[in-house]
């Protein structure tokens, strides 16, 4: 019996060793398999044998390069690798269970901020600064990969540098070109270039544009309109403010107070805004600019394409008689044109979990895969792929490029701020209280700051 117990114990020890090394175990001369957990199918990896394995294969140069990089990476690093679609729920479960247990299921995880932030804050995601040399791309040039700065000095959440990743989710300030010209107002882009595009100048423009054009005693043209969520985020960033960009709430900060006050004043002091439709969920106020009686509004490529403003696919013809021009948001009193952020961080990120064997190798493989275009940005962001981003915002080819450049500039300056994700947890939060003047900026800050702190505490775990 004693002997049996000993044997049993030895078997268990051996089993334990195998179990503990389940991710990292590989014989020295056998290629290691790097597993990359995702929640959608990604091509190509070591399991694919033909270009046609990717159902969306079109025969483009980029398809061929994404296929070829697999072999090159395998040979250079003596590895195999595979993308494993765990499903969204599965990837969340895997992060929260296997990494915590010290035996991560995957060597790299795809994540969104909902998963990624807690993983980074709670030590499940590896701080790349602890394992990589300073000259690693993600920590230095960031031509292939960059990382999300959470303000804690760590580099956990990586993002692949792509043109589309930069311009997507940007929300430039748009203006009606002909309306400004008709009112002899200088192009705001020129003011921005000279560092003179400020909140004060913006109000001056809006006041000029707010008019009773038919002389019936009723204002029928407005300087500004916009859906409340689009407006506040941009006013905050243009004033160097944020609400939930770290573990301490920023709602009560002076810079946020200025942004809230400015929002209040646009509607209630300067009276330069189109009357706001109560309880609009974005379906109305995002699109009234199409009536042609609005000077400035928050726009986006998807907003312009929704009603085919400029016939991006040639299906319906241009539906606007004026040109939409994008410009950076004016700079607030606490803002700085050089350092202001201009796009709320969103989208997908990647991280290497703590507990992975040889994380530097894993990083090198992932960086090499991400650089399938071999540093040739013209292939990475080829015209065919990016065409929609140009064509959707304007008819004039020059203006298309200019608008794209503004989006790219905004997208290059990301602000990590998850306040919009937390608003639902803040009872009573409604920006219409500022718009309709039922609450002052100071009241707004005081009413909701504690609830926001509680929501942030919950979010960051």
């Amino acid at each position: 019996m004693k002997r049996f117990t000993k044997i049993f114990a030895m078997v268990l020890v051996v089993a334990f060793m195998f179990s503990a090394l389940s991710v990292g175990a590989f014989a020295a001369d056998e290629p290691r398999t790097i597993t990359i957990g995702t929640w959608w199918d990604i091509y190509y990896d070591s399991t694919h044998t033909a270009l046609e394995d990717d159902p969306s294969y079109t025969g483009s140069v980029s398809d061929q390069m994404r296929f070829d990089v697999v072999k090159a990476v395998e040979e250079k690093y003596n590895v195999k690798f595979q993308y494993v679609n765990l499903t969204y729920t599965g990837i969340t479960d895997s992060i929260n269970t296997s990494i915590l247990a010290g035996t991560p299921d995957c060597d790299v995880y795809l994540c969104d901020l909902t998963m990624g932030i807690p993983a980074a804050v709670n030590g499940l995601a590896l701080d790349l600064k602890t394992v990589l040399p300073e000259d690693a791309d993600v920590l230095s040039d960031q031509t292939v990969l960059n990382y999300l700065d959470l303000g804690d000095g760590k580099a956990c959440l990586m993002k692949q540098v792509l043109g589309q990743n930069v311009v997507e989710a940007t929300s430039p300030l748009a203006f009606n070109k002909q309306m400004l010209e008709d009112n002899n107002l200088e192009d705001p882009r020129d003011l921005y270039a000279r560092g003179e595009w400020t909140w004060d100048k913006f109000v001056e423009y809006c006041q000029t544009l707010t008019q009773d054009t038919d002389g019936d005693g009723v204002i029928d043209q407005y300087g500004f309109t916009g859906f409340k969520e689009d407006v506040l985020s941009n006013l905050l960033m243009s004033n160097g403010a944020s609400i939930a960009s770290g573990t301490e709430e920023g709602l009560s900060s002076a810079a946020t107070g200025e942004a809230l006050q400015f929002y209040y004043d646009l509607y209630n002091t300067y009276n330069v805004c189109e009357p706001y439709v109560e309880q609009d969920n974005g379906d109305v106020m995002r699109f009234t600019y199409r009536n042609g009686n609005i000077g400035f509004w928050p726009s986006a490529a998807w907003i312009a394409s929704t009603n085919a403003d400029y016939d991006w696919d040639g299906s319906v013809g241009s539906t606007l008689e004026f040109d939409t021009v994008f410009v950076q948001w004016p700079v607030g009193p606490s803002g700085d044109q050089e350092t202001n952020k201009a796009k709320l961080t969103a989208g997908a990120f990647w991280f290497i979990p703590n507990g992975v064997e040889d994380p530097e190798l894993v990083y090198n493989v992932f960086e090499a895969l991400s650089n399938w275009y071999n540093d040739d940005v013209s292939i990475r962001d080829d015209v065919e792929t990016m065409w929609w981003w140009y064509a959707t915002t304007a008819s004039d080819p020059d203006l298309q490029v200019e608008n794209y450049d503004v989006m790219f500039d905004l997208g290059s300056r990301e602000q990590f701020d998850v306040y919009q994700s937390l608003e639902a947890q803040v009872d009573g939060w409604d920006l219409e209280q500022l718009i309709f003047g039922t609450m002052t900026a100071a009241q707004y800050q005081e009413t909701y700051r504690q609830q926001f702190q509680a929501a942030i505490d919950s979010y960051f775990g």
Partner: protein
């Protein structure tokens, strides 16, 4: 020495825990509340009340060395499998703090594909919005145990108000990749109390469907298609953002059914509630059809577009429409199925009164059976009324016979005699006007006996006389302030209509009310009409206990033709305590 031995034992124990999965593994050793080894599954039912619900098959089968509940997908949609926890646990149901359930996957092609879904409770007559995700995502962790922690603050307390646990399988990577749908196995369900103790279950319990569970599709405003409607393969699961399109090439079978009179029916969900189709390759150019105007049910999860509507945009020549059919909506959307078929002509009926003696009647082909109607039942046969028959027959058809009509023994609605007929193999409808056509305009000469008949052996499950048909309505605009209004019997409540809402009241418009009331009826009140405080629709309410309609013409009959004299307040009322869920104003489609 003793200490060393103790240390060794401790290490062995720790290793055991590590190797076999820690605390979860220890919990797995505890007996399950339900392990399916006894073969019982009477406490399980498939829920089909959602637009994306799959008609899956549920049975006990061998899996992973023991018995388990096997769920086999039927049509590529989402299986919703409900467990009657209140029945299983009885008085102990309220003690459940968490549920540990084991899920396993098998794909018919022998490969492993990750799947995920949700576990929800059925709370207060509907699926709870609180969802607990589960996933089996790695082959070496299949099957996998998932622990659901209930949230009492969100109503997650099993009992009378929340009797069911519902498991769904929503993401199937195999199906997405073109393989067959995964077969899901559920095993070893442990209902745990707050201390982690397993609560014993009575697996002989029979499933008791709570109110609302047996809900069928909401076909308000829609036409019923025949059972031979053709599904468009590959459309289920297509999804895109608002104003983005996705679709597939139409199959030959689908195109063959897309003929004059045909209706394309789309089951969907969309953030904005709308849905339409796009014909991107039409020879007339990239074409949207019925953009934001397609006939849609009140639940906004099924819409229909007719052949004629497509022809109006793309021309009469189907071969010029292009092969590709896409869906689109103004908000993010997903499609669960697209089919095309001919409408059966069946209507949504109001004011149903059962003829209980007819249930269970059955006979051979071309043989009649029925009952003698009472005076009260005969009085229901008025112009506009409809006899509805729920049935089965070998040949699919069904009609009525009036054997004692003064005009002679008469068949009505018999397609074999070339008479107009409306049936779909399970429901048949015969109108007052069809009977009058055969038996004459005076119902007192029709005789009192009503019989059923078919060209094949048949059985009738129920017969009703209905006061009329609901109108199909297009372009419904909701009056959101009405939702939630409630009052006691013969008490009114409502809202002041805005100018925009009043402008919707034009000839042909219809007010549709979704409601519940103790007595089943519902009508409107115009308290400020110049003609005086007015009830409208109370004399012959067009309602079925959950939906009521009042037309512009009904209001005009009471309040006069001048809408500006109707007043701006609109109220609801019933003869029993009532609650309104939604009020819409739209235009009759006919």
């Amino acid at each position: 020495m003793k200490a060393k031995r103790m240390l060794a034992l401790l290490m062995v124990a720790l290793m055991c825990v590590s190797v076999f999965g820690g605390a979860a593994a220890l919990a797995d050793e505890a007996p399950a509340s339900v392990d399916f080894e006894d073969g019982n599954m009477g406490f399980v039912s498939v829920y089909d009340g959602m637009a994306n619900a799959d008609a899956c098959t549920v049975e006990i089968a061998d899996f992973n060395g023991s018995k388990a509940l096997q769920i086999t997908n039927g049509s590529g949609k989402v299986p919703y499998v409900a467990f009657d926890v209140a029945g299983l646990l009885g008085d102990k149901a309220g003690d459940v703090a968490s549920v540990d359930v084991t899920m396993g996957l098998v794909n018919p092609d022998g490969k492993f594909y990750a799947c995920s879904g949700n576990v929800m409770l059925w709370v207060d007559g509907a699926l709870s919005a609180e969802k607990h995700g589960w996933a089996v995502y790695l082959e070496n962790k299949n099957p996998k145990s998932t622990v659901i922690e209930l949230n009492p603050d969100k109503g997650e307390v099993f009992g009378e108000a929340a009797p069911l646990m519902v498991v769904t399988l929503e993401v199937d990577n195999g199906a997405t990749a073109g393989a067959a749908n995964a077969v899901l196995y559920i095993d070893d369900i442990r209902f745990l109390d707050a201390d982690g103790n397993v609560i014993e279950a009575d697996t002989s319990a029979a499933f008791t469907a709570p109110e609302g569970f047996g809900g069928s599709k909401d076909m308000s405003n829609l036409q019923y298609l025949g059972a031979d409607a053709v599904e468009l393969e590959g459309m289920a699961g297509k999804a895109a953002d608002g104003w983005a399109q996705d679709g597939v090439d139409m199959t030959e079978e689908f195109l063959a059914a897309l003929v004059p009179g045909a209706v394309i029916e789309i089951e969907y969900s969309s953030e904005a509630g709308d849905m339409w189709i796009v014909m991107p390759d039409a020879s007339v150019g990239w074409s949207r059809v019925e953009q934001q105007t397609a006939a849609t049910n009140l639940s906004k999860n099924i819409c229909q577009i007719t052949y004629e509507q497509i022809a109006a945009v793309c021309g009469d020549d189907v071969s010029a429409w292009g092969a590709r059919l896409q869906c689109e909506a103004s908000g993010a959307w997903e499609v669960y199925g697209v089919k095309v078929g001919q409408p059966t002509g069946l209507k949504n009926l109001a004011g149903k009164v059962e003829i209980p003696e007819m249930a269970g009647k059955a006979a051979d082909a071309w043989t009649q059976d029925g009952v003698e109607l009472t005076e009260e039942q005969l009085a229901l046969l008025v112009p506009g009324s409809v006899i509805e028959i729920s049935y089965a027959s070998e040949t699919g058809d069904m009609w009525i016979v009036m054997p004692d009509a003064a005009a002679g023994w008469s068949r009505v609605g018999n397609p074999n005699d070339g008479q107009p007929s409306t049936f779909d193999g399970s429901t048949a409808q015969v109108t007052y006007e069809q009977i009058a056509e055969v038996c004459g305009d005076d119902p007192t000469t029709w005789g009192a006996r009503l019989q059923c008949e078919s060209s094949g052996a048949w059985e009738v499950y129920g017969v009703s006389i209905c006061s009329g048909a609901f109108k199909s309505v297009k372009g419904n605009v909701e009056i959101p302030e009405m939702a939630g209004k409630a009052a006691d019997a013969w008490t009114q409540d409502g809202v002041e209509l805005t100018e925009e809402q009043l402008a919707l009241l034009v000839p042909g418009s219809v007010i549709t009310i979704q409601y519940a009331s103790d007595t089943g009826d519902m009508w409107i009140v115009m308290p400020d009409a110049a003609a005086g405080w007015s009830r409208v629709g109370d004399q012959a309410p067009v309602c079925d206990g959950s939906m009521a309609q009042v037309t512009y013409e009904q209001i005009a009959e009471v309040c006069g033709d001048d809408v500006s004299a109707w007043g701006t307040r609109l109220q609801c009322e019933s003869s029993g305590a009532w609650e309104v869920f939604s009020v819409n104003i739209g235009t009759a489609a006919e």
